[in-house]
Amino acid sequence: MDLIFSNAVNALFDPMTAAYAIAAIGIALHFGFTGLLNFGQASFMAVGAYGFAIATISFGLPFWGAVAVSVGLSVILAFLLGIPTLRLRSDYLAIVTIAASEMLRYIVSTTSAQPLTGGPQGLNNYSTEFYGLNPIPVGTYGFWNFTYSEREVFMRIVSWTLVVLFAIVLAILVRSPWGRVIKGIREDEDAVRSLGKNVYAYKMQSLIVGGLMGTVAGILFVIPRSVQPGNYGTQLTFFLWTMLLLGGASTVIGSVIGSMIFWGLLSLSDDLLRAGVDNGVITFLTNDQVGTIRFMIVGLGLMLLVIFRPQGIFGNKKELQFNG
């Protein structure tokens, strides 16, 4: 039992949770504050993952060079997605982003791209230099069920520092006059235009910055594992949206807490169900089914949330009253 709860606590602070949180902060900027429907945050994460890994493996770039390549590619992707759609109604961006992210996933997994992207097998061995930056001496740290290697400690510190950093950047931006303009665009872009603001440029900036967060998240996500094309499907994007809505779309902290709750609950329900199956308490499930059932439980939880707290956990109830 102890182990089940310590697994869940571990999930709360896992680097993967942090990576999802950063990507979700990006779509909070897109959707929660600018009103942009980006259903392709997975593609920005893929650009981060592949850009970083390919620049390191195939082009032998140093760590920061590889990061810079990913960032550059991310900005290019934002322009490619934004230029044809941001002058149109908001649903066009939704369609284009979802299509583009699926296309990107198919392209990187084709065998003809294999020399560069590894095709269906993906990529690995690109994190050596990152871990070389680790100042923490070799050893195991922590206590009880919470012990980590020096690499795991380093990864957690870097990931969560970045979460805090991006949350602060978002908080500063949305409280600034720039944030006022994008919130105005979310409400009614023609009104903002009539007041002399270049709405298109603001939407593009928001798309770029939120996309960059997705890209950084993509790099963090693959550092402790390998790059797998299968990870960048629509499911990834919808998990991010789930986290965002869980916490509250128009909040800064909501996406972070949303990500923690999401992974914490998944881990908890998984462990509890498995324990139940192993002890014979739950007889109508097999261990293989548990992996799927837990997503159903999270889905059910989300439905209950939407019914009883539609503004998300941290959202402002007052804001929602006016939408109806």
Binding site: L173, W178, R180, K183, G184, D190, R193, G196, E319
Partner: protein, 282 residues
């Protein structure tokens, strides 16, 4: 009155002594319907000009065209000596020509005060890089807030400044939209039915506000169906029907013009409501 503003007799398209806006051959067609077809029109500077006409006459479409919210099939126009054809709407606003909308566009989940601040121009904090460093824009923000609060007081919205705009009544939203437009410090204000849905008690103060704009040196062009208001505050009246300017002149003369009465009452509809008829009517 007519010769104080116009150079000749008050016929459609008459030249003005000091026009702020000059329109030539602006035409907009929606499928088979010609919504706007204005051959020549001049709007006098520093005056209150009313644009009237029956429903569907093309007044709102004309506003949209002039302010860059819609693109005409043909035509050109100059504002304050600058050619505006093809200029995007946000640049039009920056040049000093600001408009409000017939269907009020309040930014609901922004507070009343934030709505107002958004109207301000040249706030460096609206650039994404400067936004990150508050000292770069805090001073401007203070000045903007002072100006916004003054305007809110004038429009009797100061008690609401911290409320969401969504919580305002329809009439209060009209007031907010107008006040917000003034935050841009415009040279010309274009109001699309500022009185629609505003209660009579408020109408009087809104009339005073519009007159006040003129006193501050702004030019006003407004669309309105309330003839009482048109008569009361406008220096000049332009009448549109079926996309064309069918009459213009000082309010008292225009109201007597048979072409105007026809346009409103629908007599001789579709047949002979043309420029010839008006010329004869003069």
């Amino acid at each position: 009155m007519a010769n104080e503003i116009a150079k000749g007799p008050a016929t459609p398209g008459v030249a003005k002594h000091d026009p702020i806006l000059i329109v030539d051959n602006v035409r907009r067609q929606f499928g088979g319907l010609v919504a706007v077809d204005v051959e020549h029109l001049e709007i006098p500077r520093g005056m209150i000009t009313a644009l009237i006409g029956p429903n569907g006459a093309g007044k709102t479409t004309f506003f949209n065209l002039l302010t860059g919210f819609d693109t005409p099939d043909t035509g050109s126009w100059t504002f304050n000596g600058t050619k505006l054809s093809g200029v995007p709407s946000y640049k039009v606003a920056r040049m000093g020509m600001v408009r409000t909308f017939q269907l009020t566009k309040s930014l609901n989940l922004l507070t009343v005060l934030e709505n107002m601040r958004l109207g301000a121009q040249r706030q460096p904090g609206e650039s994404i890089f400067a936004a990150l460093f508050k000292p770069l824009w805090a001073k401007n923000e203070k000045a903007i807030t002072v100006r916004a609060e003054e305007l809110l007081k004038r429009f009797k919205l100061d008690a609401k400044s911290e409320d969401f705009a969504a919580s305002l009544s329809g009439g209060q939203r009209k007031l907010l939209e107008m006040a917000r437009a003034l935050m841009t410090e415009p040279k010309m204000v274009m109001l699309d039915e500022p009185m629609a849905g505003v209660n009579p008690a408020l109408t009087q103060s809104l009339l005073e506000h519009v007159k006040g704009l003129k006193d501050q040196g702004m030019s006003v062009l407004f669309v309105e169906h309330d003839m009482h208001m048109v008569r009361n505050i406008s220096d000049w009246v332009i009448v549109m029907a079926e996309g064309k300017v069918v009459a213009e002149g000082p309010p008292n003369e225009v109201m007597k013009n048979p072409a105007v009465i026809d346009a409103y009452l629908g007599a001789h509809h579709d047949s002979d409501l043309g420029a010839d008829k008006i010329a004869k009517g003069e």
